[in-house]
Each structure stands twice: as structure tokens, then as C-alpha cells.
């Protein structure tokens, strides 16, 4: 039994890593621009499909690098062309706008690549399990977790040490002051949106290798990512990180005892957090109001 629990905790951390990647991107955009990107799951799918197209040309490793950048550029363009036009308005408009994008992107993916699932080929070296006893951990899973760790570390370093990163963090706290200090807030938001899209694209490539491609592939990750943000506490990226891992593990542990409830449990966690600690694990008081 203990072994099964340990297996599942490991497994939950791996699933949680996906939630984290999605949720961090959403969280970045939410914190700076006050926009919930409902199309984030479709950005993920787009990243996966771009990698699928690129793999035969430049190989898996090349696609792993290029596809997230392509997704980031796409996000950047969408932000410049459309989303920036609704920042000054009631939040209902940004929600509806991204909601509409979600519909369009899903349909475009279906139109181009068809409704069928497509397999994504990963290098053979990654498809094998670690060993006989650790059969449930393939090298691909180790690889995914490593990439997620690198991405998360990279993101935090980016926010701490680069000029844009510092400005993004400052803007999250007080956008008006940052603007008065002469920072081009419009460009800052676009860059920030691009970074968020990059993370979604990266998650898309990794997910494609794990579960294959289909036009709806991001949908199931979107809501858990919301929960990760709420549970972790809005405004705190560290909180989002913890929240994502937590619901991943909780979901995996529930699978042992009551598999049918493995999805519902993360929403129950959210409800408990809202009752017991409304600002979330790491959220600051008052930010969510």
C-alpha cells in the first residue's frame, strides 16, 4: 500500500507540473493585465501542433525549442491586435474576447489538422521506462519534470534579474507608478503576454509527447489551472506553483481510493480553501477584491 501511495505521489507531482506550467502563464497575465485568458488551453494545443509540424523537419529537440517561441509570437500578436483594446473596459469584455478566441482556435486546429487524434513521435530513448521496478516512470516523464523545473527556474530568474522581468513584477504591484516612471506599459503587457503564451506552448509540446494531439487537448488543463491559482493565492507565483503541485498530488491520491472522484476532488479543495483561507495559500490580503 505504501508503495502504491508513493507511486501516486510521484505521479501526482508529474501531473501537477503540467498544471503549474499552464497556471503560471495564466497567472502572469492575470496579475499584470487583469485578464483571464480562456484561450490559454488552445495556445497549449497550438504549441503542440506547431511542434508536430516541425518535428519531421527539425526533429523533436528543435521543435521543443522553436514551438514555444512560435506560440509566444502568436500570443504577442493577439495581444497587440485585440486584447490591448479592452484593457480599459469592464473585465467582462476581456473574458468574452478570450472566450471567443478559444472557440476560434479550437475550430482552426480542427480545420487544419482534423478532428482525429494524432500521435506525436518522441525519441525512442525517452519512451523507455527507467527500470523494471520503476516501470511506471518513463524517461519521458523525468524529462518533462526536468524541463518544467528549468522553465520555472528560468521564469523566476527572468522576473528577478532582467529589466523587463523587474518591470513586470513592479507593474503587478502598482501599474500606475510604473507608467509614470516612463515605462512603456503597453509593450510591457505585450511582452508579459508573450511570456505567458511561451509557457503554454512549452506545455503543449510536452503534453503532445505524453498524450498525443487533438483539438481539445488543452481544455482539461484550463480549469485545474484556475484552481491552482485560486488555491495558491492570486498575485503569488510561488503560490500558483504550490497550488498546482498540490492539486496534482491530491488528484492522484484520490485515484487510489475513488478513481471516479479524481476530477471533482480538486474543486472540493478550492471550496475548502475559499471557506478556510479565502486569500489562498500565499495570496496577499485584499488582492482578490
Amino acid at each position: 500500500m505504501l508503495q502504491v501511495i508513493l507511486f501516486n505521489v510521484t505521479n501526482g507531482l508529474i501531473i501537477g507540473a503540467f498544471y503549474v506550467l499552464m497556471a503560471l502563464g495564466l497567472s502572469l497575465i492575470l496579475n499584470l493585465s487583469n485578464v483571464i485568458n480562456f484561450a490559454h488551453g488552445n495556445f497549449l494545443a497550438l504549441g503542440g501542433y506547431i511542434a508536430f509540424v516541425l518535428t519531421p523537419i527539425i526533429g523533436f529537440w528543435g521543435a521543443l525549442i522553436i514551438a514555444p517561441f512560435a506560440t509566444a509570437m502568436f500570443g504577442f500578436a493577439i495581444e497587440r491586435l485585440m486584447i490591448r483594446r479592452v484593457y480599459a473596459r469592464d473585465p467582462v469584455y476581456s473574458l468574452l474576447l478570450t472566450f471567443g478566441f478559444a472557440y476560434i482556435l479550437q475550430d482552426v486546429c480542427r480545420f487544419i489538422w482534423g478532428p482525429n487524434g494524432l500521435p506525436m513521435t518522441i525519441p525512442d530513448s525517452l519512451a523507455a521506462p527507467l527500470s523494471q521496478t520503476l516501470f511506471f516512470i518513463t524517461w519521458y516523464r523525468i524529462f518533462m519534470v526536468t524541463i518544467v523545473c528549468i522553465a520555472v527556474a528560468g521564469l523566476f530568474a527572468f522576473l528577478r534579474f532582467t529589466r523587463i522581468g523587474i518591470r513586470i513584477r513592479a507593474g503587478t504591484l502598482d501599474l500606475e507608478t510604473v507608467s509614470v516612471l516612463g515605462v512603456n506599459v503597453g509593450m510591457l503587457r505585450s511582452m508579459n503576454f508573450a511570456v505567458g503564451s511561451f509557457l503554454a506552448g512549452l506545455a503543449g509540446v510536452l503534453a503532445a509527447g505524453q498524450i498525443g494531439l487533438n483539438p481539445n487537448m488543452g481544455d482539461e488543463l484550463l480549469m485545474p489551472s484556475f484552481i491552482a491559482i485560486i488555491v495558491g493565492g492570486v498575485g503569488s507565483l510561488t503560490g500558483t506553483l504550490l497550488g498546482g503541485l498540490m492539486i496534482g498530488v491530491a488528484s492522484a491520491l484520490t485515484t487510489i481510493f475513488w478513481p471516479s472522484a479524481s476530477e471533482a476532488v480538486i474543486y472540493l479543495i478550492m471550496l475548502v480553501v475559499l471557506v478556510v483561507r479565502p486569500r489562498g495559500l500565499m495570496g496577499q490580503e485584499g488582492l482578490m477584491t
Binding site: 473596459r89 468574452l96 482556435l105
Partner: protein, 336 residues
């Protein structure tokens, strides 16, 4: 985060204004709406519609108008109204299936299930505003979705709740056949709709309704005036949920079916776009939006598999080009 300072929508018109011109206009609008609704079975086939579609328009219109009590008249953004709609549907369906073959009882139970769930959940979230309110409401709706989805033995799970049918109405002097006659059922839905919408109009005209608009216009000022903001928002949320659940109960009766997709967040988004598309500051706006949306979706999805793109484009176009909605634009033009 107060949304009111960044609002672009025009000052309230329609049923909330006291000006004589506005009130005549709103009476005229109401009269036209009523005449059109009462004669649906006569003219709908002429333009290529069918009665069941009209019933659907009314039901979605009721959901959007109920939702709009919150968005348009209180200024609070819920993105999870599918939860109360769907719970209303399940409440009605479960009653018909397990308790008694009574349509009024089914509606009552649906309304209570959705309304009470909304009221309780509202307690937890009244302090949230803006996108954060939207985010927790959408997450709650997904909780309801997964419960309906996973509780197979009660709700029928993924396949939906089936094996029930709306029952005829037994009045003391006669029996009305709504079970098999689509046209009679349409008039039944219309009666319930008008009753509900009449109550909503009364509510908005009351001091409570005026307070809600005051909160929408400037929450901080309302707070300084000593208005208990949280309690009012909570009440508004609760009322909105009760009415949305009513729409959901009717939806279950229309289809003789309830399924988890009635709780899914895509439906929440649909309800929001209907309200915004028709005009969230106009009383009848959401109904107009619902008519437009339901009919467009129905006809586009018959013409092309890629209807999702068109629906998405509707969303984007409304946001970028018609943020005040159809009635908002017309009212503004009429006001000049």
C-alpha cells in the same frame, strides 16, 4: 478593483430611467416584445423557424435576463451561471423521475436546488470583484459539473439524466396538454417567463433595485452612504441564481433530459455573451441577445461544421465593435 471607474457603457436607460421619453420608449419596446412573443406559433414557421426553437429562445432569454440582474444592474461579473441553470435542470429532472410526475413540483424543486446552492456559494465570494469573482464562480460551476458527471447512480453521469418526461398540467377545471403538444408547451414557457420577468421588473423598480444600480455606478460612494454593499451583492446574486435555476428547470422540461453540459462553463460563457450582445444595460437586452445567438447558432451550425469559428467571431465582434449591445446602440441613437 472596482470596475465602475473603467466602464465604457452609457448611462442607464430603459426601465431604469425616470425621464418621460425613456419611459414611453421602454413601454413601446415592452409592448412590441409581448405581441411578438404571443404570436410566435403564427409567424415563426413563415421565417423558417420552429416552435421548439422559440421555446429555447425564451428559456435562454430568461437565463440571460436573470444573469443580467447581476451583470447589468449590479455590476458584478459571474462566469459560472451555468451551475445554477444546470442545477435547476437536474432538480426538475430528479423530481419527475424519482418523486412525482408533477410539472409544477419539478419546477419548484429545480428553482430551490439551483437557488439555494447559489445563495450558499454567494456567501463565500461576495467580497471578490471583477475577474476574481468571475474566476471563483466559474470554478464552482465546474465543481457542480463534476459532481453531476461523477455521481452516476443518481444523475446518470456522463450520459445525463433520462427516463423522465414533463407531465400535463392539472388545473382544478381542466387538464392542459403540455406533455405532447409543442405549441401549448411554448405558451406554458411564455407564461412562466412573463411571470418571472414581471417580478424582475418589479424588483428593479423597487428601492432595492435602485440601490443595486447605485452600487454598480459607484461602489465606493454607495459604501460611504452606509449601504451594506456585500449584503446587497449577495442578495442580488441569490435572486439571480433563483431565476437562472427557473430557466434551467424549464430547459429540462423542454428536452425531457438533463445532462452535465448544462453545467459546463461554455454555457456560462454563452449566457454572458447573450446578455452583452443584446445590451446589458437594457431590460430586454438579454432576451434580444438570446434570440440572436440561439437563432444564429442554430442556422450556422446547419450550414457548416466550422460553426465554432463563427460563434467565436460573434464573441470577438461584439466585444470589439458592439460593446453596448444591440439595444444599447439603438437606445443611444434613439436618445439623440
Amino acid at each position: 478593483m472596482t470596475s465602475t471607474t473603467t466602464d465604457v457603457a452609457p448611462p442607464p436607460t430603459g426601465s431604469t430611467t425616470a425621464s418621460a421619453a425613456g419611459s414611453i420608449q421602454s413601454w413601446m419596446t415592452t409592448a412590441v416584445v409581448l405581441v411578438l412573443l404571443a404570436t410566435v406559433p403564427l409567424w415563426v414557421p413563415l421565417i423558417g423557424g420552429y416552435t421548439a426553437l422559440a421555446s429555447r429562445v425564451l428559456i435562454m432569454g430568461l437565463a440571460a435576463m436573470s444573469f443580467n440582474l447581476l451583470l447589468g444592474f449590479t455590476g458584478v461579473m459571474s462566469f459560472g451561471h451555468a451551475a445554477y441553470f444546470g442545477l435547476g435542470a437536474y432538480g426538475a429532472g430528479l423530481t419527475l423521475k424519482y418523486l412525482a410526475p408533477s410539472t409544477p413540483l419539478a419546477i419548484l424543486d429545480g428553482v430551490l436546488l439551483g437557488g439555494i446552492a447559489g445563495t450558499l456559494f454567494g456567501l463565500l465570494i461576495v467580497k471578490r470583484r471583477g475577474v476574481y469573482f468571475a474566476m471563483v464562480t466559474v470554478a464552482f460551476a465546474q465543481l457542480a459539473f463534476y459532481i453531476a458527471y461523477s455521481w452516476d447512480s443518481l444523475t446518470g453521469g456522463y450520459d445525463g439524466l433520462r427516463g423522465f418526461a414533463r407531465a400535463n398540467l392539472h388545473l382544478w377545471f381542466t387538464t392542459i396538454d403540455i406533455a405532447n403538444n409543442g405549441t401549448t408547451f411554448y405558451y406554458f414557457v411564455l407564461a412562466v417567463f412573463l411571470l418571472a420577468v414581471g417580478l424582475q421588473a418589479q424588483l428593479l423598480a423597487s428601492p432595492f433595485g435602485h440601490t443595486l444600480v447605485a452600487i454598480r455606478e459607484n461602489e465606493r460612494r454607495a459604501r460611504f452612504l452606509g449601504i451594506p454593499i456585500e449584503r446587497h451583492i449577495w442578495l442580488s446574486f441569490s435572486v439571480s441564481c433563483f431565476f437562472t435555476a427557473l430557466a434551467g428547470a424549464l430547459y429540462a422540461l423542454l428536452n425531457n433530459f438533463a445532462d452535465p453540459m448544462g453545467l459546463h462553463y461554455t454555457l456560462s460563457g454563452t449566457i454572458v455573451i447573450m446578455a452583452v450582445m443584446g445590451g446589458m444595460r437594457a431590460f430586454w437586452g438579454p432576451l434580444v441577445g438570446a434570440a440572436l445567438f440561439v437563432v444564429l447558432q442554430d442556422s450556422i451550425s446547419s450550414l457548416t461544421v466550422n460553426w465554432m469559428s463563427f460563434v467565436g467571431i460573434i464573441f470577438v465582434a461584439v466585444v470589439l465593435f458592439f460593446p453596448q449591445g444591440l439595444l444599447g446602440v439603438l437606445q443611444r441613437r434613439g436618445g439623440k
